[in-house]
Amino acid sequence: MLGYICKYAPIEVFQSMGVEMKRIEPEVTNFTQADMKMHPNICSFAKGVLEDVLAGDYEGVILTTCCDSIRRLYDVLTEELPDKFIYILDTPRITKDAGITLYEKRIWKMIRTYEAFSGKHFEEERLAELLKTRQKEQAISLKEHALNIGIVGARANENIARILEEKGANVAFDITCTGLRRKYLLEPDYVMTGYTRGLLSQFPCMRMEAAAGRDELIEKYARSVDGIIYHTVQFCDNYSYEYAWLKKVLPGPMLQLETDYTKQSYGQVLTRIEAFLESLAPGKEKRRPAPKGEKKDMYVMGIDSGSTSTNAVIMDGERKIVASAVVRTGAKSGESAQKILGEILGKAGLAREEIAWIVSTGYGRVSIDFADENVTEISCHGRGAHYFNPKVRTILDIGGQDSKAIHLSEAGEVTDFVMNDKCAAGTGRFLEMIARTLEIDVDELGPVALQSTEDIEITSMCSVFAESEVISLIANNKEKADIAWGVCRAIAGKAYSLMKRVGLEETFMMTGGVAKNPGVVRAVEEKIQSRLYICPEPEIVGAAGAALYALDKMQA
């Protein structure tokens, strides 16, 4: 069995020789070998392939010179696996005749090398026979009564399509490298030339020169669906250019989804896709407010299970908050949920049976077994923010381990969002780390920062670097207040780029625990040159939104 990764790899050549070809789709738990043998800052896919090939049972691997990371992957694999057939095929970026001629020669050379390696024999006629069966046309398959989603961008792993299908959405097309169908026009007199031409004239990826046809096709396809998922791979930068471009030119909704080919990233991918589907979901009519006077004694509950705190809200049939509670999340989110359930029922003076519907949200939303339904924190924050202040268009939510910016329409619907849940910089955890380093309580950090008299720049973007930068500032006898203010401004800088990516439209609202930190609030306000609306209890906005979703259910 030979592994391959690229759509330009001539897999049919090997198949015609009776070789089993497997497209490598890594899903790994760590990058231990890759970090040791390559470098941490290499494309996650390339690192994943290295882990997979070193652990797997391949006769060899066919790579192409598709990008810098794969070129280096080849170097490491040849070094590590000298007895296997590790081959890099020099694939032109030009699809005109010169490119085809060169590629055909390269393919022949590869065939001869493999024949010598394996003792197998290649026959052009057998390839011709095989090609007759590869005639699948690229097409869009739309379904009625379902959200139709298109996948574009860097090679998408199977999880994306699987999640979409599980959530009832239809994958109308997948034009990433992994979703394309192969079709060849057989040229009986020039089998290999025709085959090479077919390979190079596939829908071009971003490494190819003639990616202009790409734009047209994507724009045409995009108009036929409800939304686009634009997939990028961590440390693969090529597709971000196209994302930046499409963001400007495509009229419809588009989600940028970054993955890193680890099993652990599944939860992050799931939240983003769910939130995106929720923002596209038809049936907005469910959101109408309850008619006055009806079901006054009907109660619902929203529960937001975050990494730092678990928050709950009980609402009555008239959309009035009856009780709310905030507790720290322990090691098990399920236990904190049980705790808060008792506490909030006590506060509201209600029994469990009196709660008609419970919607959970937040990072631990699936672990709350008493919830009737779960909705992502993106949709719930949007809903909650609109409830507290209908003028809000941009929400900044900084929680314990993630931060996000959400854009709302006038009707309070989520129209765009970006999340940072991959790095601690710009989150509540970061503030806790710094407070510990400064030897002050995290609650004091904000008030202390406001006493600052000198602007200090914390330049490091990574929380680990920033912490050592703070330590050197302490060593240089800088004032705590000034360092704290510097840290607040660093967080504000991160927050600003998130908010800018969703459009920076007024009115602004800040939610989450960090909204209680007056230092960060002021720093963000200075950065956006506008005021932030903050409701009396910024930690319950998500739970309030979840309660509103529960109410929809009752009134649907």
Binding site: M38, D75, V76, R93, G99, D237, A244, W245
Partner: protein
């Protein structure tokens, strides 16, 4: 100096507030700097390095100020061919460096990232994309880029073509070094010459290109001699001097002025004192702003960077009689092209000739091809008994390069290879 700093701050502020009006101020600063360099030389560096710095500043200031005089390139674009048409090549990587003279790199990088450009992309490319997108950096009529070494090239130029309307020629550099590859690229170079003929209205003269390549051969021989001399003599320069040399060897190679300068440097260096410190072979980019590195390498009699792979990334003679094939071969056999084994072999050759005491490999943020092979190179150097240090950082964005961490690693490494003082004991 205060006036200079004030002007830099003023221009930075203008670029952010009124981008459309800031370009003239940026150019004025470059021109003033050109004259300042001519009139007030930096006393800490040798005359040769000083002239080099001044030559590069003039290239940038003069080209940007004269419409139609330059194309955007990447660092591997064949400037020799552009010279045939009286065009200068300003690489986007170098322009990013010059923009950082106004401390604009962080603003531009954030600007690009806010547009959706990946934070993990090379910071030179992000700086440049942000500079153009923000409306500060003004554009020429044409661009020339290659696929050599960096995935960002094609994508950055394609993006700028769409966003800023700058058409470009893309040269697809094959991976394998054989006759087919040379023919394939040589034909593309011929097409480029045709394209430039049309755009400039000037006729291409092959004899001129041959002449340029002959000068280039001379220049490369002088550079090799210069590396040899740096092994023997102390030649005061700064970290950034090596970056200027890299720019010169890529953007001005084939010109008489660069050849003359290297000849001058080879004369000047022999008049200096004998160098008794540690000889460093530097791999990849140099973070010219990094305090700890400046402290150890700027005009230092203890540690001298004697050569770098980014300055001499192609080592052989060009066959001037077949200029297109020669240029194609030069690009294909560049040490940044092809397998890492090829790169390691060429660096090995350099090490065999120059006998450095140590190798320092700087992994620039976002540069996958350099970072991805750094460990393989370290193994190769270990085979030769040469200690190698891998430093992670960023050639332009200070926020990705933590000085404390670099300092610790560097000092430990220098202690490891033995300081001059201790060895003298």
């Amino acid at each position: 100096m205060q006036i200079v700093d004030k002007y830099i701050d003023h221009v930075r502020g203008e670029a952010i507030r009124r981008p459309e009006k800031s370009w003239d101020k940026i150019l004025l600063g470059f021109k003033a700097n050109k004259w300042r360099m001519k009139l007030l030389p930096n006393k800490n560096i040798s005359e040769g390095y000083h002239r080099l710095e001044s030559m590069m500043m003039s290239l940038v200031a003069d080209s940007l100020s004269r419409e139609g005089s330059y194309v955007w390139g990447n660092i591997f674009a064949p400037c020799e061919l552009m010279q045939c048409f009286g065009l200068n090549t300003l690489s986007i990587e170098c322009l990013s460096c010059y923009m950082s003279g106004y401390h604009l790199e962080d603003y531009f990088i954030d600007y690009a990232q806010n547009m959706g450009i990946a934070p993990t992309l090379c910071s030179y490319h992000k700086t440049f994309v942000g500079g153009v997108e923000s409306g500060v950096v003004q554009k020429p009529e044409y661009g020339v880029t290659t696929s050599l070494s960096c995935d960002g090239n094609l994508n950055t130029f394609r993006y700028l073509e769409k966003k800023a309307n700058v058409p470009f020629t893309f040269l697809d550099v094959p991976y394998a070094s054989d006759r087919e590859s040379v023919a394939y690229l040589a034909d593309q170079l011929r097409d480029l010459a045709g394209e430039l003929e049309e755009r400039t209205g000037r006729r291409f003269e092959e004899e001129k290109l041959k002449d340029i390549l002959r000068t280039e051969n001379e220049t490369r021989r002088e550079l090799k001699r210069f590396f040899e001399y740096q092994k023997i003599y102390y030649y005061p320069g700064e970290l950034i001097s090596h970056l200027y040399m890299m720019m010169g060897m890529h953007l001005l190679i084939g010109t008489k002025e660069l050849l003359e300068l290297l000849r001058f440097m080879n004369e000047e260096i022999q008049k200096g004192p004998v160098f008794r410190g540690k000889k460093i072979l530097w791999i990849h980019l140099l973070p010219f702003y990094q305090e700890s590195l400046k402290e150890y390498f700027n005009s230092s009699q203890e540690y001298q960077i004697i050569a770098s792979d980014i300055i001499l990334d192609y080592m052989d003679e060009l066959d001037a009689e077949h200029p297109f094939e020669a240029l194609a071969g030069k690009i294909i056999r560049n040490l940044y092209n092809g397998s890492y084994a090829h790169k390691a072999e060429m660096i090995g050759r350099l090490a065999d000739e120059l006998h450095p005491d140590a190798v320092i490999h700087f992994c620039h943020w976002g540069c996958k091809q350099a970072s991805g092979g750094s460990i393989l190179l370290k193994e190769k150097m270990q085979e030769k008994g040469i200690p190698m240090l891998i430093l992670d950082g960023d050639g332009i964005d200070k926020r990705n390069s933590h000085d404390g961490q670099i300092k610790t690693r560097l000092e430990a490494f220098l202690e490891m290879i033995g300081t001059g003082g201790r060895e003298a004991c």
